[in-house]
């Protein structure tokens, strides 16, 4: 029922891990809902030089997390914010029906990490 691409990303996810000196961290979800996604970003000159994640969740949560990191890495903050849920789903070869519930969570976590980065920048 899952696309070949989803299974591939799920079995061998890229960019798993934490960034110790991250410029922004965003966490969404709770163990009550069954998904917790944390995104870590490193920003240099307005560009996301590193994006990593930790995800407790289902096949969709893990595969969208790794896809979001891959799509965002190397992009400017603005371009990263422009990544849509459709872009993520498209890159994964589509999601099975009824499975789109948690597909937006990974992007939400990235947005939160960027918010975190921006709020820190303001206070500095």
């Amino acid at each position: 029922m899952y696309s070949k691409k989803i299974i591939e990303e799920f079995t061998n996810p890229k960019n798993v891990g934490i960034i110790e000196d991250a410029d922004g961290v965003g966490e969404i979800g709770s163990t009550v809902d069954g998904d917790v996604i944390t995104m870590y970003i490193k920003v240099d000159n307005g560009v996301l030089t590193d994006v990593r994640f930790k995800t407790f969740g289902c096949v969709v949560a893990i595969s969208t997390s790794t896809m979001v990191t891959q799509l965002a890495k190397g992009k400017t903050v603005e371009d990263a914010l422009a990544i849509s849920n459709q872009d993520v789903q498209h890159a994964l070869g589509g999601l099975p029906q009824g499975k789109d519930r948690c597909s937006g969570f990974a992007l939400d976590a990235l947005h939160k990490a960027i918010d975190d980065y921006r709020s820190k920048k303001v206070t500095i």
């Binding site: 069954g34 930790k54 969740g57 289902c58 096949v59 949560a61 009824g98």
Partner: protein, 386 residues
């Protein structure tokens, strides 16, 4: 890749002996048991023998067996049939929070049509307390329906104790024994039940057939109306090949019960022991001993069930999970919720239900695969675990 099936509470493969017994009833002895000619009489004879076989397997009389399309229909006839028969009189049912959806959703429909249902809780090990059932009895209680063994965590309920309460209060007792038949002894008289549901495909028989045991003197209205088959309780031309297969499977299950259940118990205990020896943050859901010999329901912290299921499937192992993401409804298991399990343990639950054809080598392979899978997913999940 060799595939290993460890989801026998979902369904079982049909035993080749069962298939052999069924085959003549498709093409040679295909008659309608209501027909007076020889074709019909062959079918009637097969039906007669099958009814005795199923009855024998649960200590019942042949005339107390109603063939149905399976467990769901049997449960529906029992619950709806009693209330319909008692219309305008006793209209209260007592059931438990961990019943199969075939009972729970029938109950919620009955509630929507104005009937009263009491759902008794279970303790943290998934067992109904008979005192709760006793305290729920009212003047208008007509039926108690408590499952014999739970489909998710395999816990065995105190049906005998509940039967005493039912008897004292002149209330019918129904039990859904879909999961217990073929795994532990099921005898309608020692259990003291008035009605009992069985499903063929859980005991190496074909799908689409089952039975409702109705103790002599139990008065129900049918929920289907038609040509008067099955004493009018379940009209419709009988599924003779299915019924013959079901009966053969029932006889085989009874004959091999002792050997099969000992075999499964040995495998189950090695599985649980092996997992606890190789992984931390694991828990066994349900009761340690008051459970089916083939059921191991384990929760692994920091991993999610559907992800585990997929990785195990890639390793050739078929299991199931109570996590929300794997279910059609996107709701986590109501059973694991009822035993008060913390959400992260619910989402990380995996049910392995063994069968007679599983081997110790397969258990060893499973234990290794579980260790790999959980370790891999924990590396992806928790910062605390990397």
């Amino acid at each position: 890749m060799k595939r290993i099936y460890m989801d026998h509470s979902a369904t079982t493969p049909v035993d080749p002996l069962v298939v052999d017994a069924m085959l003549p009833y498709f093409t040679e002895s295909f008659g309608n048991s209501s027909s007076l000619h020889s074709f019909g009489q062959e079918a009637a004879e097969a039906l007669y023998v099958a009814r005795s076989q199923v009855a024998d397997s649960i200590g019942a009389k042949a005339e107390e067996i109603i063939f149905t399309s399976g467990g769901t229909e049997s449960d529906n006839i029992a619950l709806q049939g009693v209330l319909s028969r008692e219309a305008g009189k006793r209209q209260h049912i007592i059931t438990s929070v961990i019943e199969h959806p075939a009972v729970l959703n029938t109950c919620s429909f009955l509630e929507s049509t104005g009937h009263d249902i009491t759902y008794v809780p279970v303790d943290s090990e998934g067992i109904v307390n008979a005192d709760d059932v006793k305290n729920a009895v009212r003047g208008n209680t007509v039926l108690i329906s408590i499952m014999h063994a739970n489909n998710e965590i395999g816990t065995i309920q105190p049906i005998k104790e509940i039967a005493d309460i039912a008897k004292d209060n002149n209330i019918y007792l129904h039990t859904d024994a879909v999961q217990s038949v073929g795994k532990i002894p099921v005898d309608v008289n020692s259990l003291g039940v008035d009605m009992l549901s069985i499903s063929s495909h859980k005991l190496y028989g074909p799908k689409g057939v089952g039975a409702l045991y109705m103790r002599e003197g139990t008065r129900l209205n049918p929920i289907l109306f038609g040509g008067g088959h099955e004493r009018g309780m379940r009209p419709g031309t009988e599924n003779i090949p299915g019924i013959v297969g079901f009966a053969t499977a029932s006889s085989l299950a009874k004959e091999h019960l002792d050997t099969d259940s000992k075999h499964m118990l040995r495998l189950r205990d090695s599985l649980i022991k092996g997992v606890f020896a190789t992984l931390d943050d694991v828990r066994l859901n349900g009761h340690a001993t008051q459970r089916l010999p083939n059921n191991a329901n384990l929760s692994f912290k920091y991993v999610e069930g559907e992800s585990m299921l997929m990785l195990l499937d890639m390793a050739g192992i078929a299991v199931s999970t109570g996590s929300a993401c794997s279910s059609r409804s996107l709701h986590a298991s109501h059973v694991l919720d009822s035993i008060g399990l913390e959400p992260d343990y619910i989402h990380g639950s995996v049910r392995m239900t063994l069968g007679k054809e599983n081997s110790m080598e397969e258990i060893e392979y499973l234990v290794g695969a579980l260790q790999e899978t959980v370790t891999k997913l924990r590396q992806i999940s928790s910062p605390a675990k990397c």
